[in-house]
Symmetry: C2
Subunit: 516 residues, 2 copies
């Protein structure tokens, strides 16, 4: 029992009180060290608006930071001393000495084993993305922080992936920290990078995860020169002198087309004369589609055909899609080639990326699925009046099935003992609807991949976590193997998540036994 | 120059890269130590949906944590060493040695002074909630973290205040950490308490801010007993034995009315026989209005008229309002008194509180408003094609005006030199529309209160920050002085924020001088 160095609010007490009161109950009922298994899964893709902007897949993220938190968090002296001070309604201590002594000895995650789907993988609802196994009281206490870590990073990686897809290959930069939800800015920037965003403006976290931060300048720089009696042109000149090879100018402080772009061009010409290549301009207000066409026209005319045009201001995947579609439709009217313009666009995406604007939470849950009693594992279930909310019980394997085009066609949950790969034809059972089945013939299947892998064995990492750069590659590979319909920004096609016949039967038997 | 002990991502590099590149530009142009003033303000109240659920006021929060961050953050060795490694497009260091040396010496907030509206106060758009003054490069670097701290806590305090108002006096508990945006769970819980939520389930932060955490139990406890062959009743009994004076039972693991409530009543009867007072039940699924009426009916019949009924599951202010309205309309049909039922309701509000569901970001900005040159302050302005986005320039005072009922009727921005209190009748000028004015006669005014106070003088706190408990009192007092129409959950009446004649004239002159 010693101190952990973390602030109380960020260590193992980054949890809900009821995890601790349940742990104490398990202790006094002799259940605390029984082996238990919990599954982490989400029930619904994020859904961003009532017009059907909705994710058709999610990008798994947050695991490495959860493992790091687990490695650093335990009940040290200050945590125990805090719990000693908590009182019940009867004014007596809520936690008893004997339990706290046990917690001081055993209250860490060295007894916990985890299987998980790796970060960066595309994932779907009702599929266990992680299963934890360990003493009931300990895996119970883990719940709140686990959900917090995985729900948020998966949410943001998913939003980022949609934004990156909408950008049609253009560079995307996270500009979100100023309106992020507190320190969610930090884990969110990591998740955004995992989801396919290319860079973040956030200096500290970019460094920590091995990406250089990116940025331009703010209106305040231009305003400062203006307040001193100089103008926008003087501000741009100053910027080009200090950053001759990184000169990217924000052109909307006064009037984008009337002042900003002409002044930027003057400065770019000076730079060019001195042998430097100007980087570009940023548009931060107005009709970004119209302005980017006009900006391109003016820049092209002045001989700056390759400079970037950075767009920012309330962007998200749907806005980007609309801007590109307007450019494709209208740019030729102004003598601007749509494809060349689109290739030079860069997107600075802020608030709606870092907060997942429109749906600010992933509904992931962590449910008890089995408990060991007398050497034997007993499957656990939770009923619900909504059939889709009844959990899939027991130990399970998760398989991804690929068709002959090498596209993922379904995720299949089976019992742990089943070896789907050896099977011939595969019968996929709808998770809720008894009559709905789908037969996949062996000859139509190009591959079957197990998704859950061991990541923690009794508190020890099985191997070092991959870098963010590696995780990005996993995402890219999975995105390529998704049908276009699943990736559609609005009203995506629904990916199949199915149960094996054996798992379906176990679930039905348990439901019936609980109802009787 | 020394190390700060904070992780790199949470110290002074919790900022956007462009603040640092602008700071370097100011350095090389000799502007870095010029005194500058920035204003922090938001432009729009949070707006939660397209049906008109929208805030009519905000609750100011986050200042104390910002001040704490400022006190602990500076450019130490590791931050400087990080900046040394950043490269430009030309592969040369982005930051030059001379600038970094200056940053190592002067790169902290000991030169910054702040005025601010205190936490807990009700605040409105386009009113400076904070003004910073200090060397241009330093107050520029402050921007990103300042916005992150203040935007998020004000957002959540506002949402919390609406939820607390909707609860009509009922206790509200923050249950949100599992789906919060990463560590936004922590600052968000503090902000929720500031906004009027009574307790949080989050153990660590509750302790840090001096509130006991609250909670019940999860489905997993009941599931564990079920998996072992015992049932819901055995689980409830176990809970009542370990927590005889804090017995609050979650009744929807199997079937709320068919199993949960009857089992809870059995356990409550045992407790009562032993001289304990049962605490209540929690409903976490289904039609919470209908179920709470039925639960009350069953509990009343069994003689438990005072036990709490805790409601949870996707609550927000509008859902709570609808539940209460349904109870008021329907409970008498079932022989249940609506008022007594409403008095025993407790609300566990999760995701939509801690993420501000529907509008996950406050649009606060931080704009340069004045710069000192040759001993004289020059007002700064930023134009925009949207008149409402043109900033109010220069040094300003903020006044709140109360009418004879002691209700706040308007916030007035004046020039720093004006003393509004000495004026007779007050002319309030619409911030954008030239023709719109409103005359307030002296005899109709009961009080004029200046809102901005000194909180930091050259890096030193003017006084210790108030406790969260004190901040809550400030909010309550302000809420009482708001017209009911402003507090309406849907389509609230718009509170007036006006300019004095002199400030209006300065703004017009600056706009004209920039346009010409």
């Amino acid at each position: 029992m010693n101190n952990t160095g973390k602030p109380l609010s960020e260590g193992i007490l980054f949890t809900d009180l009821y995890q601790l009161t349940m742990a104490q109950l398990y202790y006094y009922k002799g259940l605390h060290e029984k082996e238990a298994q919990f599954d982490y899964f989400f029930r619904n893709y994020p859904s961003y608006d009532s017009q059907g902007s909705k994710a058709g897949y999610c990008v798994n993220a947050g695991l490495d930071w959860l493992l790091e938190w687990m490695g650093q968090s335990r009940f040290g002296e200050k945590e125990i001393s805090y719990l000693e001070k908590q009182k019940g309604r009867n004014k007596k201590p809520l936690f008893k000495k004997e339990f706290l002594k046990w917690l001081g000895r055993k209250g860490d995650f060295s007894s916990v084993s985890l299987k998980a789907i790796p970060e960066g993988r595309v994932v779907h609802p009702n599929v266990p993305l992680l299963t934890s196994r360990g003493p009931l009281a300990i895996v119970q206490i883990l719940e709140s922080s686990l959900l917090n870590h995985l729900n948020f990073q998966t949410l943001i990686a998913t939003k980022a992936s949609r934004i990156k897809e909408a950008a049609s290959g253009g560079m995307v930069i996270d500009f979100g920290m100023r309106r992020a939800q507190g320190k969610g800015a930090i884990s969110g920037a990591r998740a955004a990078l995992i989801g396919g965003v290319d860079f973040s403006s956030n200096a500290g976290i970019s460094y920590s995860v091995g990406f250089p931060p990116k940025g331009t300048h703010a209106h305040s720089m231009v305003q400062a020169f203006m307040a001193l009696g100089a103008g926008e042109l003087a501000a741009f000149k100053a910027y080009s002198e200090v950053y001759p090879d990184d000169c990217l100018l924000l052109v909307d402080t006064i009037d984008t087309l009337g002042s900003g772009i002409p002044n930027a061009i003057k400065v770019f010409e000076r730079l060019k004369a001195k042998g430097h290549k100007p980087l570009g301009v940023r548009l931060d207000s107005g009709d970004l589609a119209y302005l980017s066409i006009q900006a391109a026209k003016m820049l092209n005319k002045a001989g700056f055909k390759d400079t970037s045009i950075v767009l920012s201001n309330k962007l998200d995947e749907v806005v980007i899609w609309q801007i590109l579609s307007q450019i494709r439709k209208e740019s030729s009217k102004y003598g601007v080639d749509a494809d060349s313009l689109i290739k030079r666009l860069v997107y600075g995406v802020g608030t709606k990326l870092i907060t997942s604007g429109g749906d600010a939470a992933l509904d992931g849950v962590y449910k008890l699925t089995a408990l060991k009693e007398g050497g034997e594992w007993k499957p656990a279930i939770k009923l619900s009046e909504t059939p889709a909310k009844i959990i899939n019980p027991g130990f399970k394997k998760v398989w991804r099935i690929y068709d002959k085009r090498d596209k993922a066609v379904a995720d299949l949950l089976s019992l742990d003992g089943e070896d789907i790969i050896k099977d011939n034809d595969l019968m996929l059972h709808h998770p809720v609807n008894p009559g709905m089945k789908r037969l996949l013939r062996k000859e139509d299947i190009s591959g079957i991949e197990p998704l859950l892998i061991d990541v923690l064995k009794e508190g020890k990492r099985v191997k070092e976590g991959p870098t963010v750069a590696d995780i990005r590659k996993a995402r890219e590979k999975d995105i390529e193997r998704l049908d276009t319909g699943i990736k559609r920004l609005l009203n995506p096609h629904i990916y199949h998540v199915s149960l094996s016949e054996k798992l379906w039967s176990l679930k039905q038997n348990l439901i019936n036994s609980q109802k009787s």
